[in-house]
């Protein structure tokens, strides 16, 4: 196919801001048209939280506290972890895969803002829709699960910072998984595996402090704990002070590492695109 010469790119990040903002707004609109799907996704999420509550209540039976956490603390952890994993989700993987598969990537590469920038705009746009929905859903989450306020004002502030870093990790992972499509054309299987591995190792089913030793060690080497376990542990006051800062540092390291990996994989992927088009 013939691709028109790329329009000259506006120079400088600030000059491109309106374009990014437009991508973000358009995505938000698109995502909103799928609101019925989102509603049923929420039903699934609430079922999951409710099931966790029932099962964990049966497991705790009449034990007061296990590993320093009573049932209410554990359920708050799981409720927030599941909500957060749902809100902070990579929305770019399937999009990039579709673009690569259907060859739409050629047009997108010729657009005046870079493809990565377009994808980031898409990610923010999706989040702009999901975040308010999650806030509206909080009362329901309170009913089906257990929710409590953060352990302290300080914990609340650190939690927000920690979620922001978690968002960074998720965004990079989403892009990396989408880029797999340049080699395999198909990422749905990988995405499904990511969904389950992430749910489990981020602490969405069992808090990490209840993992058996070796499994705990594995969980701490993986990036998934940065997506729920660290922020939520800060929220419930299970990690405080220096430990909380150390948690944030671990998250920041993952943001940087994965960001570098995105750059490397992206430049290789771009070379592949040329091969496919030739």
């Amino acid at each position: 196919m013939t691709v028109a010469a790329p329009a000259p790119r506006p120079s400088g990040w600030t000059a491109r801001m309106p374009a990014y903002a437009k991508v973000t707004a358009l995505t938000a609109e698109t995502v909103f048209t799928y609101r019925f799907n989102i509603a049923f996704e929420l039903v699934g999420l609430f079922l999951q939280i409710f099931l966790l509550k029932v099962v964990w209540t049966a497991i705790y039976a009449d034990r007061g506290s296990v590993e320093g956490a009573d049932l209410a603390t554990l359920l708050t952890y799981l409720t927030i972890a599941n909500l957060q994993i749902w809100v902070v989700w990579p929305e770019t993987t399937w999009l990039l895969q579709r673009k690569v598969r259907e060859g739409k990537i050629a047009q997108d590469l010729a657009r005046p803002i870079g493809l990565i920038g377009q994808l980031l705009g898409h990610q923010f746009g999706s989040t702009l829709v999901f975040l308010p929905i999650a806030l509206v859903a909080l009362p329901v989450a309170f009913l089906v699960g257990v929710l409590g306020p953060p352990a302290s004002i300080q914990a609340g502030i650190l939690y927000v910072a920690s979620v922001a870093l978690a968002y960074g990790v998720v965004t990079w992972i989403g892009l990396l998984m989408g880029m797999i499509a340049f080699w395999t054309l198909e990422t749905s299987g990988m995405q499904a595996i990511y969904r389950f591995a992430n749910l489990f190792f981020a602490g969405g089913l069992v808090p990490l402090w209840l993992f058996p030793g070796p499994l705990r060690a594995v969980a701490e080497l993986l990036p998934f704990q940065t997506q729920a376990h660290i922020p939520v542990s800060i929220y419930i006051g299970r990690i405080v002070g220096v430990d909380a800062l150390r948690g944030l540092a671990v998250q920041a390291i993952w943001v940087v590492l994965l960001g570098l990996l995105v750059r490397v994989v992206w430049s290789r992927a771009m070379r592949r695109v040329v091969i496919q088009g030739g």
Binding site: F36, N37, A39, F40, V43, G44, L47, Q48, L51, V54, V55, T57, A58, I59, V66, T184, E186, G189, M190, A192, I193, F196, A197, L199, F200, L205, V206, L210, F211, P212, L215
Partner: protein
Amino acid sequence: MTSMLRLYVALAGAGLRSELQYRANFVIWIVTGAVYQLTGFVFVWVVLTRFEAIAGWTLGEVAFLYGLRLLGHGAGLLMFNRMIEIETLVREAEFDRFLVRPVPTLLQVVTRRFPVNALGDFGGGVVLFLAANSLAGVDWSPLSLAFLVLTVLGAALVETGIKLAIASLNFRFLSTRALVRVVDDLFSNFGNYPMRIFGGILQLLLTFALPVAFVAYLPATVLLARTDELAIHPAFAYLAPLAGVVIYGLAYLFWRGELRHYQSSGH
């Protein structure tokens, strides 16, 4: 009946051969199916290494229940998985061509493509069930083995009967995907646990409103000699495999009735 079976085998075989053209994806989908089902079990395993029991059920017993459900679920998927595509087929009016061919409509739909990920579901079920069986220490006899086989077949029919009933709604409503997902979630999340933990009302709902209990929990109480914990009459547990026949039969009648409302939208 036998000619029907021959047709099924021939069509399903063709579907399998076409899937085998994409080997890498074939393997990935099997792994995905297994991973999906086993994540839930890893949860149970991690929990029970700490807590010994859930509502009096040991790790071995919960694993047995879990494995039993997976066998039924996997068997159902293997036989009828493609039902989920009915929605798209109806909406895009591709369904037309199934109506004009000299093979039963539903048979063509369910054999259209081979459900590769179901091999993972079923395989995961076999592995888990065999491992759990030695832990749970079930006393097998020819009678209980026969009950097991009937249970798996019955469970496959319960799940697919419900899916068929929902799929039938497509002829009037054109969109049921979300409903399918919620019902699927209910079966695969709530069917794996000893239902005592859900308390009276929810347990009754999961038995008679949506027949989740008939898939694995009720038959498992028979095989594990735990029927005395049931809130309902034990006869329901012993006759659980029959539920599949009844539910699938009703669903098929419903399908036949609704099929008349197909409008070939877009033509």
